[in-house]
Every structure is written in structure tokens, then in C-alpha cells.
């Protein structure tokens, strides 16, 4: 108990109030910019008040005063060490448009996580397909009720237009929004499940694969392979890759979390994850529109060959986009699209 609090407070109080009013000015500024004289004053006051805090912490029993000074020091510390993003950077449309090239670049940079997602999905497909092939009874377990109906009947209904209520562009629009929303939610979950060290992501991908494999084999067995391709692939050409990219993002996140703390570059990895998620969301918007407006129209209206050709064209375009767009050389230093600077 070395400190005479009363005298100390009388002596140091003015500079605390100075710092408080300086901080109030700085914090109310939307762009959080500091001009040189203010920076100098802030630096000086910060050093003094930090020293005052040390004296109170070690030399007096004054919890309230200590709390007050801690708060002051914390605020000044944040102002002093945080370099806000340039306002011009944040609102430049060109920087935001870079997402369109950053997405394929990021995709290629982390291709091995994509490969892992493909592998797990293929394993699921094989499991589901073989199960249905060799044990037809497993259809009841593997497929949700919607698909359980006899494929022949389903195809007939679809072709007659009985199975759907999509009789106008209006309902199709509403349906597409629900699809987009649902798909993005599932994909986002797959990407977020990376936080379970990838286990959740793997399970979700595997389950998805099982379903895909079981449906494919079930319909093909009964001779509806072409119908199924024409039914699922026009939107599946974007939907399935985007779920795989969600898996890629999930595994990428898991890998980052498994790194030792000092090896992490959390800023870079957060950006990569966000770019992947933003990219797959854009893909799913397209897939949702296709599913509602195109996939649900069948043979008399749209010939199956035409639908399959459209799907193939989509796949080729997507592959070209993901593999060719953006910078060819893969450099770790490449700039990311989210504009913000720190330190």
C-alpha cells in the first residue's frame, strides 16, 4: 500500500480525462483514421495511463479505479494498434468483383482437399450403389420416402406432369428460392463441420454419396437411366460440385485447426474459407434456378437428349472456369479479395 490514492487521483486525473475525450473523438469517427498529432498525443497518453494502471495494480487496493484504468488502456490499445481497412478499398466494386477470379484460384490452391471430398463421396456412392444392387430390400432403408415410389410410376407421373405442382413460372420461382436456400444451408453446414476436425464433413459427404449411388443404381436397374440423368444432371452439374467444394472448405478448415497455433496464418485461412463458401453459394444459386425452371420439365416438352446435352455443356463450362480462370501460377502471396489491412 504505497500509493496515496487521493493525491494520485488528483494528480493523474486530468490526463485520464484527456485520454477519455481523445478516445471518444477517435471512436466516433466512422473510418477510424488518426492524424499525426492525434497519434502522437494518443501514444503519449497511452504510455502514461498504462504506467498509472501498473501503479494502481501493484501499489493500491482500488478495484474500481483499476477497472476504470484497464478499460481506458484497453480502448487506447485498440485505437493505437488497429489499422482499419481503407475506406476506398472496402467500397471499390472492382475489388469485390475479384471474387470471380479468387474463387477458382483458391479452389486450385486447395485441390487436395477437393480430392478428399470426391474420394469420400465416391466411397459413399459405391456403398449405396452396391447395397441396392445386391440387396434390393435396402432401398427401404437407404432412400427417403420421396424416392421410394416405384421409379416406373414416378417417371410416368413426372412425364404427365402429375407429380409436380409446378404449373407456372410463379411457383417455379418460389420453388427455386427454397431450393437455393436449403442447398446453401446444407453446403454451409458441410463447410462449418470442419470444426469437428472434418469428421462431420466426411459423414455428411458420405451420406450424400450413399443417397446418390442408391438412387442412381435403383433407377438404372429399372431402365430409367436416361430419365434420371436428364432429371438430375442439369442442376446436379452445379449442385454436386458445389457440395464437394463445401466438403473441400470443411477439410481445409479442419486442417487449419489441426495446425500448431504458431504455424497458423488465421487471416489467410479465414479468407480462403470465405472465398470457397462465397463461390459455392453462387454456384448453388444457379443450380437452384436450373432445378426449378429446367430440370422439372420432361420428355414431351423437353427431349431428354437436349437436357443431357445442356448438362454436359454446363459441366464443361464449370470445369473450364474452375481450372483455367485466374492466375496460372499458384503463389502463396496472392492477394485475397477481402480488403482489409491490419498491423
Amino acid at each position: 500500500m504505497i500509493l496515496d490514492l487521493e493525491r494520485f487521483q488528483a494528480q493523474a486525473g486530468p490526463r485520464w480525462r484527456d485520454l477519455e475525450s481523445l478516445l471518444a473523438v477517435l471512436e466516433s469517427r466512422p473510418d477510424r483514421r488518426v492524424n499525426p498529432p492525434e497519434a502522437e498525443q494518443l501514444q503519449e497518453l497511452y504510455a502514461q495511463v498504462a504506467a498509472d494502471l501498473n501503479r494502481v495494480t501493484h501499489g493500491a487496493l482500488a478495484p474500481e479505479l483499476r477497472q476504470y484504468l484497464e478499460r481506458l488502456v484497453a480502448r487506447a490499445y485498440a485505437e493505437l494498434y488497429y489499422a482499419p481497412p481503407m475506406r476506398s478499398e472496402v467500397w471499390q466494386p472492382r475489388r469485390w468483383l475479384r471474387i470471380f477470379t479468387a474463387f477458382p484460384e483458391t479452389f486450385r490452391r486447395n485441390a487436395r482437399y477437393f480430392a478428399l471430398a470426391v474420394l469420400i463421396t465416391l466411397l459413399g456412392c459405391a456403398f449405396g450403389g452396391l447395397a441396392v444392387r445386391y440387396d434390393p430390400a435396402s432401398v427401404d432403408v437407404l432412400l427417403p420416402a420421396d424416392y421410394l415410389r416405384n421409379p416406373g410410376q414416378r417417371v410416368h407421373e413426372e412425364e404427365q406432369g402429375q407429380g409436380r405442382r409446378l404449373d407456372s413460372a410463379q411457383t417455379e420461382a418460389a420453388f427455386s428460392a427454397q431450393l437455393i436456400r436449403h442447398n446453401i444451408q446444407v453446403a454451409l453446414l458441410a463447410a462449418a463441420l470442419g470444426v469437428t476436425f472434418g469428421i462431420g464433413t466426411a459423414l455428411l459427404l458420405f451420406e450424400n454419396g450413399v443417397l446418390l449411388g442408391a438412387v442412381a443404381v435403383h433407377y438404372t436397374q429399372q431402365g430409367f437411366g436416361l430419365f434420371l440423368t436428364a432429371w438430375l444432371l442439369p442442376h446436379g452439374a452445379f449442385e454436386i460440385p458445389s457440395i464437394l467444394i463445401a466438403g473441400q472448405a470443411g477439410f481445409y478448415l479442419a486442417r487449419q485447426l489441426l495446425r500448431r497455433r504458431e504455424d497458423r496464418n488465421s487471416r489467410q485461412s479465414m479468407r480462403e474459407w470465405l472465398v470457397l463458401v462465397a463461390g459455392l453459394a453462387m454456384m448453388l444459386v444457379w443450380a437452384g434456378l436450373m432445378e426449378a425452371f429446367f430440370s422439372q420439365h420432361h420428355a414431351p416438352v423437353l427431349p431428354y437428349d437436349f437436357k443431357v446435352a445442356v448438362a454436359a455443356a454446363e459441366l464443361v463450362l464449370l470445369a473450364i472456369y474452375l481450372l483455367m480462370i485466374g492466375r496460372r501460377e499458384i503463389s502463396a502471396e496472392s492477394r485475397s479479395f477481402v480488403p482489409s489491412e491490419n498491423r
Binding site: 487496493l61 482500488a62 479505479l65 488502456v73 411457383t171 418460389a174 428460392a177 437455393i180 453446414l189 482489409s340
Partner: protein, 268 residues
């Protein structure tokens, strides 16, 4: 008893930050309850906004209700994520709910959070909200030493409490004319050494809330505090203590604890 102890430990959680200059300061962390209330408020605001937009959209798309539904469904979904991400990103870590409940999201180094952190922690809600009512997030917050939900762990962020603090004023009991405890500097010194900051602030709080307490409660609290001090911490001579009320005892003790340094002042 264990129950109250654990809640206290939980609400009193704090993060200590060491700056490059070697200054240590603590940031009080937000408890799960206040975060939940802030979130509920935010959810209400989002729902209100979405419904408002919905009415507008229905009116605009009166001839094409299907497209109206499409716009609303997508807008609702986008606003659900963007509300938190954009507000936290551009409003220094606060949504409207967080601001009202004096909470702020910050980087775990004590600096303001960056825009991409705000997006990551808000997109991670799809996992934190599982299986219902943010159960996963709740478990994560309770098991984390710094009260992080999974979104916070991934984004490297924290939620801190920021109740506005004013410079503590001069307290009346430190300005007492005469403090008889000063006559016994050895025992007074012992009191200062042995009293923890928690005990000291407890005494201070008890005195400050004098007029808020019911007379009976006040008498009991003061009696217990004085008894505890006298028997466990600093036994002042009985002939002195007998002449003092419990309240006066605490006022004197508080005067010793909070800065009365001048033994000769009272006498002179």
C-alpha cells in the same frame, strides 16, 4: 454453495492481455445469458425487418406473387447472416442487441475484429445453432475458458462486456474526520495485507448500498462482515471494537483499505 461458486466463477471470467509494452489489462468476458438475450433481441429485429421488407415486396410483386416469395425467401436468408456480419464488421463488433446489452465482439488479441472474422463467426452459426436453440454453441461457451462458441474459436474472436465506467468519485467514508483504526498501525497494516480485492470491494459495495438494503438485512450483513474481519483478518482490541457499531467498524476498515494514509491527520 458449490452452485453459486461456479456461477460466480463463470460470470467473473476475464481475459488478461499483455501488450507489447508489458502492460497487463483484463477484459471482462460476456456470460452466456447476456449473449442469449442480445441474440434474441437481434433475432426479433431481423424478423421485424424481414417482415417489413416482405410487405413491401408483396405490394411490389402483387401481380407476380411467386417472384415475391422468391425475393423474400432469399432476402430473409441473406439478411439472417449479413445482419450480424455487416454490423459487427463495420460497427466495431456490435449489433443492435449487443450494443444494448453492452457487449462487443473483439479479436482475441484485444484489438477490434476484422471484417472477415465477422463473416466467419456469423456463417458458423449454422453449426452453432445445432441441434436446436444453439445447444452446440452453449456447450462450447461453457467449456471454453474464454467463453467462445465454435464460431468464435474458428474466427479467433471473443465477446466482452463493456458496461460504461466512470472515474470512481471520492467516497464519503474515506473522508471521515477521524478513523480510530489508525491508532493501531500494525493491525491496520495487517488488514491491508490480508484483505483480498474481492473482500475489499465487498465491503465497499455493502457500504455504498446502505440505503438500498432493508434495515434487517443491513444489520445482518454488516454484523457478519465485521465479525469476519475481526475474527479472521485483523483483530482490533476489544475495548475499541466494543465502542463501535458494525457499520462504523466497516467504515473504518474501508478507510484503511481505500487509501487513508495519514495517521496524524485525524489527531491534528
Amino acid at each position: 454453495m458449490t452452485n453459486t461458486a461456479s456461477t460466480r466463477a463463470l460470470t467473473a471470467a476475464e481475459l488478461t492481455i499483455a501488450t507489447p509494452e508489458g502492460v497487463l489489462f483484463r477484459l471482462p468476458l460476456a456470460g452466456p445469458a447476456s449473449r442469449l438475450y442480445a441474440m434474441l433481441l437481434d433475432v426479433a429485429i431481423v424478423l421485424g425487418t424481414v417482415n417489413g421488407i416482405g410487405l413491401l415486396v408483396y405490394w411490389m410483386f402483387a401481380k407476380a406473387p411467386g417472384f415475391g416469395v422468391m425475393v423474400i425467401t432469399l432476402a430473409e436468408f441473406a439478411i439472417g447472416f449479413a445482419y450480424g456480419a455487416l454490423l459487427e464488421g463495420f460497427w466495431n463488433g456490435q449489433t443492435i442487441g449487443k450494443r444494448l446489452f453492452h457487449l462487443r465482439v473483439i479479436d482475441q488479441s484485444g484489438l477490434p475484429l476484422r471484417i472477415e472474422q465477422a463473416w466467419v463467426r456469423n456463417l458458423m452459426r449454422v453449426f452453432d445453432a445445432l441441434p436446436f436453440a444453439y445447444l452446440v454453441a452453449g456447450i462450447s461457451v461453457l467449456s471454453s475458458p474464454v467463453a467462445q462458441r465454435f464460431g468464435d474459436r474458428v474466427a479467433g474472436t471473443l465477446v466482452v462486456r463493456q458496461t460504461p465506467l466512470a472515474l470512481p468519485g471520492e467516497e464519503f467514508w474515506t473522508r471521515q474526520k477521524y478513523n480510530s483504526f489508525i491508532e493501531y498501525p500494525t493491525i491496520a497494516m495487517r488488514l491491508r495485507r490480508a484483505a483480498t480485492p474481492e473482500l475489499a470491494s465487498l465491503i465497499q459495495d455493502a457500504l455504498r448500498r446502505r440505503n438500498e438494503l432493508a434495515p434487517y438485512a443491513r444489520r445482518e450483513i454488516y454484523r457478519e462482515l465485521a465479525k469476519y474481519l475481526q475474527s479472521e483478518i485483523s483483530p482490533f482490541p476489544d475495548e475499541l471494537v466494543e465502542r463501535l457499531s458494525d457499520e462504523q467498524y466497516l467504515i473504518n476498515a474501508s478507510g484503511i483499505l481505500f487509501g487513508d494514509q495519514r495517521p496524524s491527520r485525524g489527531k491534528g
